[in-house]
Subunit: 244 residues, 2 copies
C-alpha cells in the first residue's frame, strides 16, 4: 500500500497547523539530534525521501549541498515545498518512497525524516537507497521508535486520575500495519522491531555509523515541563549508515 | 560496584535449580538465536565473560575452538563449571568482568551471555574487549533488553482479573541501577538504552554485524503455550560485532 494521507484535504490542513509545519526544523523537537547525525553536505548531491515541505532540502542547500532532490507522494506537500523552500538547485519530484527511480550511484547522501514508518517494506527501501548511493555515501533517517509503534493507540496508559502511569508495549514482534490516530485521522503506520531496521541495513550492504534515540535538550526540558515525559519512553529512532 | 550475587548461597541454590542451569544451553530459550550469531569457532581462542557453569565454553570446545578461557566473579559458578564442563583446553579464571586482564589481541572471539546488565559501565567493557581481541576478531553478547530493564519490577502490567494487559515501559532514558527481583532476591541490574549499547561498540572501534531481539522458535511456541507472551515484548538483546 502506498499511503498518501497528505493529499486528504482535512488531514493536510491539520498537518499544516503543526508547529513543525509552520516553524520548520527548529520547531521539531528531534532536529538537534538529526542534524548531528548528518555528514558534511557541502558539494554533495542529496536526496530527501518523503520531503514534505522541504525544510531538510532547504537546510542541505544552506549547508552548500551542490544539488538536492526532494521526493514526496503528496502533491499538497510538494506545492507547499515549492512555495516555502524553493531554490534553483532543489528539484521537487512527485513519487512514492517505494517507487523512486534514480541512476545507480547518483547521490552522495540520502536522508529521510519520519517517513519510513508509512512504508510497508523497509528492506525494499534499503536496497533502493543502497543502489542510488555512490560508494561511501551516507544514509541518515528517522522513524517512529518501535517502542512507540508497537501498540496502535500510541498513547500512555493512564491511571484513575488521568495520570500517565507508563507507556504500554505489546505485540512487539508482530510486525506490520497499525491503524494509528494522528491529527484526528486514522493513519496506517508499519511497526517493525529495532533489529529489523538494523539488520535490513546490514543485509543491504550498509555499515551502521550511529544509532540515536533522541532526547529533548536541557533547554527544551527547562522551557516545556511536559517534555519531561519524553524521558520516559523513546519516541524516535534515528540511524546513520554508510554504503560499503 | 562489582556484583557477586552468585556467591550468596541462597541465591546460588535458586539459580542452580533453573532449567538452564540443569539442562545447559538447550534449556535456554534464546540459545538458538545466540548460536546463530557466533562466528566459526574452529581453531579460535575464545574468551567467555561471565561464564557461569561454562556451558558456552564447553560448546566452543565442541566446535573445536583451540582454547577457551571462562571468566567469572563467582567461585561457586567456577567450581560448578570445573565439575560440569571441564576440559584440558578450558581455563576457568576468577575475575570480575570489569577487571579481566589479558594480552593485547590475545583472543579471536569474545562472548558473553546475559552478564553485562550486571556491569555498571558498558563503555569500559567495550574498550577492554576491543583491546583483548585480535584485528578482525568477533564480539558476540546477549543482555536483557532495555525494554525489559527500564522498569525495575520487570513484570507485566496486570488487569483486574490477573491477566497480562501489556508490558510497562518507563524511565527509559534514566540509565543506571535498578533493584530487580530475580529468583526471590534483590539483584542490581543496570539499565541502558539500545543506542547506548550500539554506540559504545561503534565508539570503541567495532563494526556491528548483526543485532538480534530473539523470539521463541515455532517448536517452543507449540510446546509451551505461555511462550506466546514472549512475542509481546522483547526480553533479550544480542549484538554481534567485529573489531575493525
Amino acid at each position: 500500500m502506498k499511503q498518501n494521507k497528505y493529499d486528504d484535504p482535512g488531514f493536510f490542513e491539520n498537518y499544516s497547523q503543526m508547529s513543525r509545519s509552520i516553524g520548520g526544523l527548529d520547531a521539531a523537537g528531534e532536529w538537534h539530534a538529526f542534524r548531528a547525525m548528518l555528514p558534511e553536505l557541502r558539494d554533495k548531491k542529496v536526496l530527501d525521501l518523503g520531503c514534505g515541505f522541504g525544510w531538510h532540502c532547504r537546510y542541505a542547500r544552506d549547508r552548500q549541498a551542490r544539488s538536492v532532490v526532494g521526493a514526496d507522494i503528496s502533491e499538497n506537500m510538494l506545492e507547499r515545498a515549492r512555495t516555502l523552500t524553493n531554490d534553483s538547485e532543489i528539484e521537487y519530484r512527485r513519487c512514492a518512497i517505494e517507487d523512486f527511480e534514480f541512476s545507480e550511484g547518483e547521490f552522495d547522501v540520502v536522508i529521510s525524516s519520519l517517513a519510513f514508518h508509512y512504508v510497508e517494506s523497509f528492506d525494499h527501501v534499503c536496497r533502493k537507497v543502497h543502489q542510488a548511493l555512490a560508494a561511501g555515501g551516507s544514509f541518515v533517517f528517522s522513524v517512529e521508535h518501535p517502542v512507540f509503534t508497537a501498540v496502535a493507540s500510541q498513547d500512555w496508559y493512564y491511571g484513575a486520575s488521568g495520570e500517565k502511569l507508563h507507556w504500554p508495549v505489546d505485540g512487539y514482534y508482530l510486525e506490520g500495519a497499525r491503524e494509528a490516530n494522528f491529527l484526528d485521522n486514522i493513519v496506517v503506520k508499519y511497526h517493525r522491531t529495532v533489529s529489523s531496521y538494523v539488520n535490513a541495513l546490514l543485509e543491504s550492504g550498509f555499515s551502521i555509523s550511529k544509532l540515536s534515540e533522541p532526547q529533548p535538550t536541557q533547554e527544551m526540558l527547562d522551557q516545556i515541563p511536559e517534555m519531561h515525559d519524553e524521558l520516559r519512553r523513546p519516541i524516535f529512532l534515528m540511524i546513520a549508515a554508510v554504503k560499503n
